[in-house]
Amino acid sequence: MKILVGIKRVIDFSVRVQVKKDGSGVNTDGVKLSINPFDEIALEEALRIRERGTPAEVVAVSIGPADCQQQLRTTLAMGADRAILVESTDAIQPLMAARIFHELVKRENADLVILGKQAIDDDFNQTGQMLAALWDRPQATFASKVELKDKALAVTREVDAGLETIEVDLPAVVTTDLRLNTPRFVKMPDIMKARSKPLQSLRLADLGVTEAPKLETTSYAPPPQRMGGKKVADVPALVAALKERGVL
């Protein structure tokens, strides 16, 4: 079985992102970049499917500038068999990303695609659903448990009402939620070994994917600031403050 995993490079989750003064974007100078946390979970799940005994080739895919190679090297060290970088310096929105993944899925004859449920930079939460639609295959989004059953998957999904289980035929698209697994750490010897694993670079222009419609971002603004910071000394003072604000 062949599993494609989406690996997007994003601003690290621990960075408090700041909007530039002129509203043209966010500050990225010297900011730490990492694999989207949901995508690390996606890769971990693919590796576990293989380790549980299903013969599988795990291919990590990133769309982004040339230096995303660094994040792809990390995935090879974690255990991916090979990696594909689709080089693009433009910000790729979900419909375009889905079209690119669709093209790769056809070329690679993939049985399963695991993506994150959302990229923590754009917070769109769309790409997996869109890929499934273009591919005309099932989607199992927000997965917290994935069980492989012959030619199908049983997937438990984290939904607002609780936990929903659905069964989907393969090929399919799964998107990960945070509780699906805890990704492994990379070990030093594996980083050395990963150097000889294949990392293929493709130019977006070579894929023959038609440009998708886009949202045009006209301005960035910081969120309204909350004026917090007031502390009270004890419980009676807390109750008095609540009454003063009219919430009790």
Binding site: Q118, D122, D160, I166, T217, K230, V232
Partner: protein, 314 residues
């Protein structure tokens, strides 16, 4: 003039409160508003949707395959209906997030996620970077605009409307590759986390599943819904549907009480729209205090019982 279709969220029996908030967003866009109810038997839910003020018509889309609201089944039907509309909206709940991008891709449309504000019918504000940036985006109007509505940014519309209810057939073929198995939902008599006026949340500081009883007890005293941080859910103190934050529920209650929660960016994203935030934490430097309107430093196991006593005196 805009013609807007709002996709109703429901569980087969009850209309979800998120639908009335999505209708408010539709009202801000302006134009004719219809609501679509996909179900096997849509009568009860359609009757509830017909009361939403400002709605012109409620479309009942009834077929057996619509029983479990599966995205793969509904999306092709929505894509078909979309031909008659300028906009299709759904609430930005797990239901709408799962469903709408699938319909958007079928239509070749780049969807807008989490609309916070309408600037004009094709220009919206939405959050990025866990709410650390608010961007204004312009959307190509053709063939149709698809958007999910960030429910915490919108009040429910009024409920004294009287829309016409009509039955609509979607002859579209739907796939059988996706099958519903089960839904495990915790039954609770407490208010619903997403629409409650008051919410009490516990974090890792609560310490255990057993200790969480103190949170439930205090919430009951306030008539509040119960929420939690991701750390509390991960540790197994409470089920996943209580998680508040970037990747859990985004809520906007009148009163939010964070107990034993440090205030990570991802948690704060979920509560920024609360009217009053109260923090109880034993660490005076916990980041939650920077945004809390009222902070009290101390041990939650002492403070909560004392607070209950104080509330009894009121």
């Amino acid at each position: 003039m805009s013609k807007i279709l709002v996709i109703a969220e429901h569980d087969g029996a009850k209309l979800n409160a998120s639908t009335a908030r999505a209708v408010s967003c539709a009202l801000a866009i302006g134009g004719e508003i219809d609501v679509a109810v996909f179900a096997t038997d849509a009568a009860t839910v359609a009757a509830a949707a017909a009361k939403l003020k400002g709605v012109r018509r409620v479309l009942k889309v009834e077929r057996t395959e619509n029983a479990h609201q599966l995205a793969a089944v509904l999306a092709p039907q929505i894509a078909k209906l979309a031909k008659d509309y300028t906009h299709v909206l759904a609430p930005s709940t797990t239901f709408g997030k799962d469903l709408l991008p699938r319909a958007a891709a079928l239509l070749g449309v780049q969807q807008v996620s989490d609309v916070m504000k309408v600037i004009d019918p094709a220009t919206f504000e939405r959050p990025m970077y866990a709410g650390n940036a608010i961007v204004t985006v312009q959307v190509p109007a053709s063939p149709c605009i698809l958007a999910t509505v960030r429910t915490a940014s919108w009040q429910a519309c009024a409920g004294d409307g009287n829309a016409e209810i009509i039955a609509v057939k979607t002859a579209t073929a739907v796939p059988s590759h996706t099958r519903f198995v089960e839904l495990k939902a915790e039954k609770s008599d407490r208010p619903d986390l997403q629409s409650a006026a008051r919410v009490v949340s516990g974090g890792r500081g609560v310490g255990s599943k057993e200790n969480f009883a103190i949170i439930y007890k205090f919430a009951d005293k306030l008539g509040a819904a119960v929420g939690a941080s991701r750390a509390a859910v991960d540790a197994g103190f409470v089920p996943n549907d209580l998680q508040v934050g970037q990747t859990g529920k985004i809520i906007a209650p009148d009163l939010y009480v964070a107990v034993g929660i440090s205030g990570a960016i991802q948690h704060l994203t979920g509560i920024k729209d609360a009217r009053t935030i109260v923090a109880i934490n034993k660490d005076p430097d916990a980041p939650i205090f920077q945004i809390a309107d009222i902070g009290l430093v101390g041990d939650l196991f002492q403070i909560l019982p004392e607070l209950e006593q104080e509330l009894d005196k009121l």
